[in-house]
């Protein structure tokens, strides 16, 4: 194919990407954000599939059959198993405006600059060669599609140099647009999601063409001689396991993955979609890996890493080959752009800024300039590495070496979220140990294999010492080099992290951060303020203004306390700064303008305690408020109902002076009845309010329960007779006296008798009032032969306005609630049982005074 056509297509594609990102940014500015959609988020996670996997999977499959799968199984497992872990990370990152993985780890361990810087350095060492690998992938893809690979031209004539610069431009335009690095990059994410679609479509199109266009379906393809190696099981189970674990970590820990998954997340709910959407994406992009490997092997093509391009060319489909090239380009550029955005933020905030914070004046512009410069430098470094390393082994194996580097963040990251005992010293020591072992067992051997170190370094070992052999450290045998490296680096990393953390208890600041991270899902966590000292709001605002500008700072501080600042405002200011310059620098900046009191670990515990107490008190107040609202709304309803009848019949009487006498009498009776109901209701509401507020008068004296029962029976007599019901009283002789308010006790018994009278069948009613002594209690029970109270409603009927039964009984719905409160005030209890009469049995149990309290 003509080189001009390929180059033209590539640049047209990059231009289209610019246009798309710019359009998405404009849409977002107009309030119609694209990245508010869960599938855009899900697709953006596809940046995981870089050129290394786009071209390399087929290569691995051709060489080792299913050996390519772990790179995809790992992320799938991670999304399914570590879903809650991701949610915690996202929650923490949003609450504290975390800008990168380095910021996350540094922030957790006491806002440590050293730690954040160390994470950044390791990421940088791991990522620069990885970027180089992407450039190399583009270059070799170009060579295959354009047909020839000329001798490497001078750098200024090398297309790759210009590609690197274009990508730097894109990253600056969309990845380092605004100052707040914790804010979402709309255009960037939209472009990345689009790239995910492009590479998936391209790969699937090539796969479909090869399987059904060049061969006669998968059965035909795999039956070809020569295709067999693509179907073999992986040679080494141990390596397989190491690869799965490694890719599990990397899907979270690679700077670009952390960027798209955490920093660019706008809605935790999107994780749900991504939880199955991202694994589905990975599955789709892998379906044709094996067939492509088999096809390339069957046709005897050279260099399996280029099968994706060489196969359509061999099949005569030039346009499809060009599409495959664009797919690879999208895989490479997506990775480079996001990685550059993430790493530039880390380099700027955690390596460069700490050196410049002493300077006064506005720093916002400077921060942006540093970040942009870091992007250009990173891409140029990548390009330089690509030019120098070229075809060396070091470059080809860098994908996994990179993964292993970022896997060193895992102990500190997991500890950050699940272990409050982790300390800065522990994380630093663990990370340092892991990084050294990673370099010694993985990085240096790959450099030695490229011929940049004496070959003897690997075998027989440095200085000829066998126990120092980097791939058989301390004589460890039987592991492939990757598993071996992971065993030593991750194992000792974790062990040192735990051991050093345990050696010394966390400082107050470490303990405070630990609580903020580990308890992030607890509702009370957001209300804890770990700061004591003196600060002025104006100083804080001026500090924030130095980074975000006076106008935006004024907007942020509007409506917040003036004069002396409280801890909450200090934390707010620090969080705002953290979004721009990272947690560690933000901490140092805030400390420079306020007078702080050092907190002791005991203070941290007390602050947590206070926040919890405050929260509980607030929750209780809210629920009381809601109860009060419900009560008022119920009372209103109950008042309006009788009023409705009264008003309606009164208006009817007014409008119809000639109404027939019986009708008139009936209407007047309604007015009387409903007025009585209204008075009853008003009295009972007041009564209940008095009892509940503790303002009711209780005239306690010695009460003879038999006498109280006799009085109540007499009062209820008229009502019972009216309903044609028979009352039977059974009382034990000689019941001891109670200490109680006689009127209140009668009120309870009368309420129970009245209820029984209302519910017994007309004319055939039977009601029984019994009194006896049982244990330390005097008991009174009212039985009836009414419909009874279903077991499910036996507690409900004691709630206000919750009358039992399917139809409304006459009554206010307050009688039983009042009775229960009276009985409880007397130290007793009231409940419902089945009655031997067939209906309900209301039992009241009242405690007898203990001997030493016998009435004087």
């Amino acid at each position: 194919m003509a080189p001009a056509l390929v180059i033209g297509t590539a640049f047209a594609y990059l231009l289209a990407l610019f246009a798309l990102a710019a359009w998405a940014d404009r849409r977002a500015a107009a309030g119609r954000s694209l990245i508010g959609r869960p599938w855009v988020y899900t697709l953006s996670l596809g940046v995981y599939c870089s050129a290394w996997t786009y071209f390399g999977s087929v290569g691995r499959a051709a060489a080792g059959g299913l050996g390519f799968l772990p790179i995809y199984l790992g992320p799938t497992l991670a999304m399914v198993l570590a879903w809650t872990l991701v949610r915690r990370i996202v929650r923490v990152a949003r609450r504290y405006r975390i800008t990168s993985i380095a910021d996350f780890i540094g922030s957790r361990y006491g806002a440590s600059r050293t730690l954040a810087g160390a994470v950044t350095l390791l990421a940088l060492v791991g990522v620069v060669p990885y970027v180089a690998l992407q450039l190399k992938a583009i270059a070799s893809a170009y060579a295959v599609v354009a047909g020839a690979r000329a001798a490497a031209p001078a750098w200024w004539a090398d297309g790759m140099f210009w590609v690197a610069l274009v990508l730097a431009g894109f990253t600056i335009a969309f990845g380092a647009r605004g100052l707040d690095a914790s804010e979402r990059h709309e255009g960037l994410v939209a472009a990345i999601a689009a790239e995910s679609v492009v590479k998936l479509l391209a790969f699937v199109a090539v796969g479909a063409f090869v399987v059904w266009g060049m061969f006669d379906g998968p059965a035909d393809l795999f039956a070809r001689p020569g295709a067999a190696p693509a179907l073999q099981a992986p040679a080494d189970g141990g390596a397989w396991f190491a690869l799965v674990a490694l890719s599990m970590f990397s899907v979270l820990l690679l700077p670009r993955q952390f960027q798209v998954m955490v920093v660019e997340n706008v809605d935790e709910g999107h994780l749900r979609r991504a939880g199955w959407g991202f694994p589905a994406y990975l599955l789709a992009i892998n379906v044709f890996v094996l067939p492509l490997a088999a096809a390339g092997l069957a046709l005897g093509l050279p260099d399996p890493e280029t099968y994706v391009l060489a196969l359509p060319l061999a099949g005569g489909a030039k346009t499809l080959a060009l599409l495959a090239f664009v797919g690879g380009l999208s895989a490479a550029t997506g990775m480079v752009v996001v990685e550059a955005t993430a790493v530039a933020t880390m380099v700027c905030n955690d390596l460069v800024l700490p050196l410049l914070l002493g300077r006064g004046g506005a720093l916002g512009g400077l921060v942006l300039a540093i970040r942009r410069a870091a992007i250009v430098v990173l891409l140029l470094l990548g390009y330089a590495y690509f030019r120098i390393a070229g075809e060396a082994y070091a470059l080809a194996s860098i994908g996994l070496i990179s993964f292993a580097a970022v896997a060193q963040f895992a102990p500190a990251l997991l500890g950050a979220l699940y272990w409050k005992g982790g300390t800065r010293a522990g994380a630093l020591a663990g990370l340092g140990t892991g990084a050294l072992l990673w370099a010694y067992t993985l990085m240096l051997p790959s450099i030695a294999r490229s011929g940049w170190l004496p070959a003897g370094f690997v075998e027989p070992g440095p200085f000829g010492l066998a126990w120092l052999r980097p791939e058989h450290l301390f004589g460890l045998q039987g592991l492939d080099n990757l598993s071996h490296a992971l065993f030593w680096s991750l194992g000792l990393n974790a062990a040192v992290f735990v051991a050093v953390s345990l050696a010394r208890p966390p400082s107050a600041r470490e303990a405070a951060r630990a609580l903020q991270f580990v308890d992030v899902l607890e509702p009370a966590a957001g209300e804890r303020v770990f700061w004591r000292g003196r600060a002025r709001a104006a100083d804080l605002q001026a500090l924030v203004a130095r980074f975000v500008g006076a106008e935006r700072a004024a907007a942020l501080f509007a409506g917040r306390p003036q004069g002396f600042a409280d801890g909450r405002l200090v934390q707010f200011a620090e969080t705002q700064l953290a979004g721009a310059v990272g947690a560690a620098s933000a901490r140092a900046l805030v400390a420079s303008v306020v007078e702080e009191q050092a907190l002791a670990p005991a203070d941290i515990a007390r602050i947590v305690e206070e926040a919890n107490t405050l929260r509980q008190a607030n929750a209780k107040l809210e629920s009381l408020d809601r109860l009060k609202d419900d009560f008022i709304s119920s009372v209103t309803h109950e008042l309006r109902t009788p009023l409705t009848s009264i008003r309606a019949v009164a208006e009817l009487l007014r409008d119809e002076p000639e109404m027939a006498a019986p009708e008139r009498a009936r209407f007047v009776a309604i007015v009387v009845d409903e007025s009585e109901r209204l008075s009853r209701l008003v009295n009972q509401v007041l009564d209940l309010a008095k009892i509940e507020s503790g303002q009711a008068e209780w005239r306690d004296g010695d009460v003879d329960l038999r006498e109280a029962a006799r009085q109540a029976a007499r009062s209820a007599g008229a009502l019972l007779r009216e309903r044609g019901a028979v009352l039977e009283v059974r009382a034990d002789e000689a019941l001891p006296p109670l200490r109680a308010d006689a009127d209140r006790l009668q009120q309870v018994l009368l309420n129970l008798l009245g209820n029984a009278a209302k519910f017994v069948p007309e004319g055939r009613g039977r009601v029984r009032l019994s009194l006896w002594r049982e244990g330390g209690e005097l008991r009174a029970a009212v039985d009836d032969n009414g419909p009874g109270v279903p077991a499910a409603e036996r507690e409900l009927v004691f709630e206000k306005f919750r009358q039992g039964g399917a139809t409304r009984a006459q009554g206010t719905g307050l009688g039983l609630p009042i009775s229960r409160r009276i009985v409880e005030h007397l130290g007793g209890r009231i409940w419902i049982e089945d009655s031997t009469l067939g209906g309900a049995r209301f039992v009241v149990g009242l405690p007898l005074p203990r001997p030493q309290e016998t009435p004087r």
């Binding site: 309606a648 119809e656 139809t807």
Partner: protein, 124 residues
């Protein structure tokens, strides 16, 4: 033939007054004491208008209203909600469910009679 009003309310005295009022206005009257009975009568008797109480046992007025509006064969049934719940949100909920009107209890009998006439449309 005069048009029919269904009165659905669980308060006997309110039913008495509404029944008297509606008959005086010249409408035929049916009565239901709870939501379930109301829905059955709406399906069997096809009243032209329902005076529907909101707080009823069985099915509440909102549920009855929703069920009627979900049934295309009952499309012509006018519904006037009567309720002691008078907050704006209650009114909005009732009208949102497709009621033709909402009167707060206690209501003026004259206003109610006028609203019913209005909803029934010109007498044939």
């Amino acid at each position: 033939m005069s048009k029919t009003v269904l009165i659905a309310d669980d308060e006997p005295n309110i039913v008495v007054s509404l029944e008297f009022l509606m008959k005086r206005e010249g409408w035929s009257v049916r009565v239901a004491r709870d939501g379930v009975a109301a829905l059955e009568l709406i399906r069997s008797e096809r009243p032209d208008l329902v005076l529907l109480d909101v707080m009823m046992p069985g099915k509440n007025g909102f549920e009855v209203c929703q069920a009627v509006r979900a049934d295309d064969s009952l499309a012509g049934t006018r519904i006037l909600l009567l309720s002691a719940k008078g907050r704006d949100t209650d009114i909005a909920q009732g009208l949102g469910l497709g009621a033709d009107g909402y009167l707060t209890k206690p209501f003026s009998t004259r206003e109610l009679a006028a609203r019913v006439r209005e909803l029934m449309g010109p007498t044939p």
